[in-house]
Amino acid sequence: MTIEQLTVFVENKQGRLSKITNLLAAEKIDLRALSIADTQEFGILRLIVNDAARALEVLRENGMLVQITEVLCVKLPDRPGALSEVLEALDGEGINVEYLYAFLSQATPDAAYDVVRVADNAAAAAVLKKAKLA
């Protein structure tokens, strides 16, 4: 399945990240997962939240550079090698992974979730379905 990821541009300056988390906290928006890609100049914050549309609105109103990106979310059994199988399947079909990060959920203690960014979500989903991995 695909989920909505919040993507926020963060300049490498003190206090930028906490400003974002404070704004979301004030709106009672819950963070499910988070990942940051950083360069010397800037960072890209990727968030999975409980209400992406509301979070987008709040951050935009506060002048943030933010967008919603549809990303693939893969539910994996919590066992060694599970992620490798997914990546091998994608590799085998020549699907390039731009980035990925994982999170756990209390609701499903025996599973992990992987957010996988690929160019074509539908194609990747089809590959995983075919390999009986999703």
């Binding site: 990821q5 993507t7 541009f9 963060v10 300049e11 890609a37 360069t39 100049e41 800037f42 890209i44 990727r46 002048g63 943030m64 550079l65 933010v66 967008q67 990106t69 731009e98 980035y99 960014r117």
Partner: protein, 435 residues
Amino acid sequence: MSQYYQKEIETMPQEQIRALQSEKLVRQVRHVYDHVPYYRDLMDKKGVKPSDIHGIEDLSKLPFLSKSDLRETYPYGMLAVPLSDCVRIHSTSGTTGKRVIAYYTQHDIDLWEDCCARAIVAAGGTKEDVVQVCYGYGLFTGGSGLHGGSHKLGSLTLPMSSGNTDRQIQFMMDLRSTILCCTPSYAAYLGESLKERGYKPEDNALRAGIFGAEPWTEEMRRDIETSLGIKAYDIYGLTETSGPGVAFECEEQHGMHINEDHFIAEIIDPDTGEVLPEGEKGELVFTSLDKEAFPLLRYRTRDICVLSRKPCSCGRTHVRMSKPMGRSDDMMIIRGVNVFPSQIEAVLLNEGYAPNYLIEVDRVKNTDTLDVYVELAPEQFSDTVGAISAREKALADAIKTMLGINPKVHLVAPRTIARSEGKAVRVVDKRKLHD
């Protein structure tokens, strides 16, 4: 003991210089009026005829010229002789829409090279010297000017052009260069590079350096003199007036003698155009006196400086100009290249960015740095680092194509560059260029 290249002219009493200038001015004005319709129109509009100009006391009757006039008349509008009489062009480091082309007859080249030869002799040069010219060759006037001057003097000329520091050092050491001609920042860089390679200042054979094409301070002069073990001389010029050598320093190192037999210098108030008395700070204006192809009357340089007619111990009688102390426009000189903020803005707009930007210029280890901060629009944002880095690179490449120098581009979040009331602050120049 001072040496001169053309002693009679360089030490001519000031009254005689005035008389010579008056005589030449009358002829130069007639030449321009007869052959440059654009300037004839300016004179007609002002109600001035060549017959109104009897000598330098009438100079202020003439209209000014500025860079915009030269752009407007691009490419041939200021040419005062048939193109077939010209033997060469040079061009400013500007770019599309900003370029100024200067034309030269053989006579014009000769005068220019004489000026450069005077500068080399004033720096102690003789025909025994080995002159290493590492100004850029090509459209830029730096290389050709000093090269020509060195030839005239009969010195051995090394036409190195700019860059390739390893080769510069190899030739400097193996061929025992005695005079170095380049930008002051490159001289400083060569000094550091020699040190890094384990050379001491006394290991090279250099005695003097003639450095120009960009602003530099007394502090920088001392650094260069120490690191290279030389005496460092300043030289001034601009493509519009021929190139380097319009003015040059003597052993006094206290102001640059303007070659007054070829140019009249005035200092004006940049706002009113009023001519200011000697010793007052203002914009430098040049009138050429004996150019054939590209004569310019009352050309505004936009450089702010001071003139002095006080006697100089070197024996030269020509008026001295201070180092430029600033500009009356927003042009910056970065790594020897003339840069206008509007050029960078044009690239940003062309590449689809909003004109919200900040240009930061600094000098790190004697090399100019150019940082451009640009706001990223929401539709230009991406969730991958690669896409944003690729944007930065594409923009840096576009600016490099426009200016010829490499900037560092920083994409920043929207509305993070300060908006100011009225005139926006687009440029922060952190260099200490003026004492």
